[in-house]
Amino acid sequence: MNPSSAPPQINSQKPIKTLRPSTFWRLAEDIPPSLNWGLMVASIAIPLFLWWLVTTLGNVDPKFLPSPAKVIAAFQRLWSTGDLQKDTIASLWRVGVGFLMAALCSIPIGVLMGSFASIRALLEPMFGLMRYMPAPAFIPLLILYLGIGEEPKITLIFIGVFFFNSLMVMDTVKFVPKDLIEATYMLGGKRLQTLLQVIFPYVLPGILDACRINLAAAWQLVIVSELIAATEGLGRRISVAGRFLRTDEIFVGLIVIGVIGLTFDLLFQYVLRISCRWASQKR
């Protein structure tokens, strides 16, 4: 008779479950700083410890897995001869030039693609296609066109970074609120002024972030590029060490590459925090 009297009683026996508090499993929330630092240290220390444990207690062939001590010794050996420094500088220079040129070209093009639907229509299909061509696949062509000097190596990094970075910069421009652009027009802004003085500063944090991510790609490509024909470089060092089964030197090369990459990443994050204070999420 009266369908809207009382809601049906479901599971009336079961107690209501409430969310239990947790420190470790907080969804999308910060954890206490002490726990944060502890976990971050553990993230490096535990693998190091396991490595040491396996090589010390386990009967592992050092040709297969050298102990940390052996790797440190190899590091000192390579450092004292000056080879390691030479290799590092060679690789850094290739990444630096290739990445800088790619960034300098891709940032304006990406901003233009994001700002103007016309430029986007003109370039996006081509860039979208190029992006899916793996840069290392261009190596034969680059050798054919540019020989075996520094040019093909730098061009490889350029190709690997330029298209990705252009498209990622373009995406950041899409997040500029339309209201902000219209407000600029209402204040008397011309299109060029709006582009340079409103859109560009607004997307600068996004651009820096895109560059940070693509620097990692550049760093991977330099190693690949040194497989072409190089006399020095960290990638070269690793492949030569591989040929002579000097596993400890392979480890040195890998660790140096990792540390340099991480340093650049942190540097980018620092620049981002300093130059774009307004964009930081934390209050």
């Binding site: 609120p177 219209e182 209402m186 500063p201 307004w278």
Partner: protein
């Protein structure tokens, strides 16, 4: 006539054919008036404001300010948006100056003028603050100062207090009345808040929905402009009349859509 809207029509092309958003809008606004256009959603009130701003062009008809035909956006019309449109990387002072910078004013002059309008909106103390450090009401006051710094002929406001809480809204109402009395600026404000419109304006255009048309023009004469007047019978009369107008036309419109 200062702000003149003549036979304005606006259609949008949709997949289902042309949609009439604004139909036969005529408005005449004198210098120094405080005008509110009140309408429910679908009355095309924001679209109307965009035509005056020049951010969009009418399908037919025209908008003139001080005799000059509007063909695009420009600093002779100050605009305050509903959403915060301050530049987040600039501090309050730089935000207030930015329009003058775009227009090519010398540094000293734009600093002086921006500082003056920041003092008008009572934010001199916050000149060095970033927008993210301000409350919603303060952000809108900076936006108002930024618009006023260009010394526009009319201040266009698109539901500027829609995102604010009730108490902030009330203090912003007082602030607007005070500002208007001191600067004698012409204000054209869009709102769906009937009480806001009655409290602030000299004259109200009640807009009907689908298509947006001027249903009635109401001249508001209140005994005074303090919050006490909101308890006054005259205030209630205005409010009820407007509510009835909007309700009636809202229902008609939804029936028309259903049919």
């Amino acid at each position: 006539m200062y702000l003149q809207i003549t036979n304005l029509h606006k259609n949008f092309e949709t997949k289902a054919g042309p949609l009439v958003v604004l139909k036969d809008i005529n408005m005449l606004i004198e210098q120094g008036e405080f005008i509110c256009a009140v309408g429910a959603s679908g009355s095309g009130k924001s679209t109307l404001l965009r035509q005056i701003a020049g951010l969009d062009s009418p399908s037919s008809g025209e908008v003139r300010i001080d005799g000059k035909l509007i063909t695009g956006p420009g600093p002779d019309r100050g605009m305050v948006f509903q959403h915060y449109t301050l530049y987040p990387w600039m501090n309050v002072q730089q935000n207030a100056e930015f329009g003058l910078k775009l227009q090519g004013l010398a540094k000293k002059e734009r600093r002086e003028r921006a500082s003056y309008y920041l003092s008008v909106v009572g934010l001199t103390r916050f000149a060095k603050s970033l927008p993210k450090e301000l409350s919603g009401g303060m952000k809108q006051r900076v936006a108002i100062a930024r618009a006023l710094a260009s010394e526009p002929k009319v201040l266009l406001m698109d539901e500027p207090f829609g995102a604010l809480d009730v108490h902030t809204k009330e203090s912003m109402h007082e602030f607007m009345l005070d500002l208007w009395q001191r600067t004698h600026i012409t204000v054209f404000m869009i709102t769906h808040d009937v009480e806001e419109a009655v409290f602030l304006s000299n004259r109200i255009y009640a807009l009907g929905a689908r298509p947006g048309t001027v249903r009635k023009e109401i001249k508001v004469q209140l005994p005074d402009r303090s919050h006490a007047v909101k308890r006054h019978a005259i205030f209630h009369d205005y409010r009820d009349e407007l509510m009835d107008l909007l309700r009636k036309h809202g229902q008609e419109a939804s029936l028309a859509v259903a049919a």
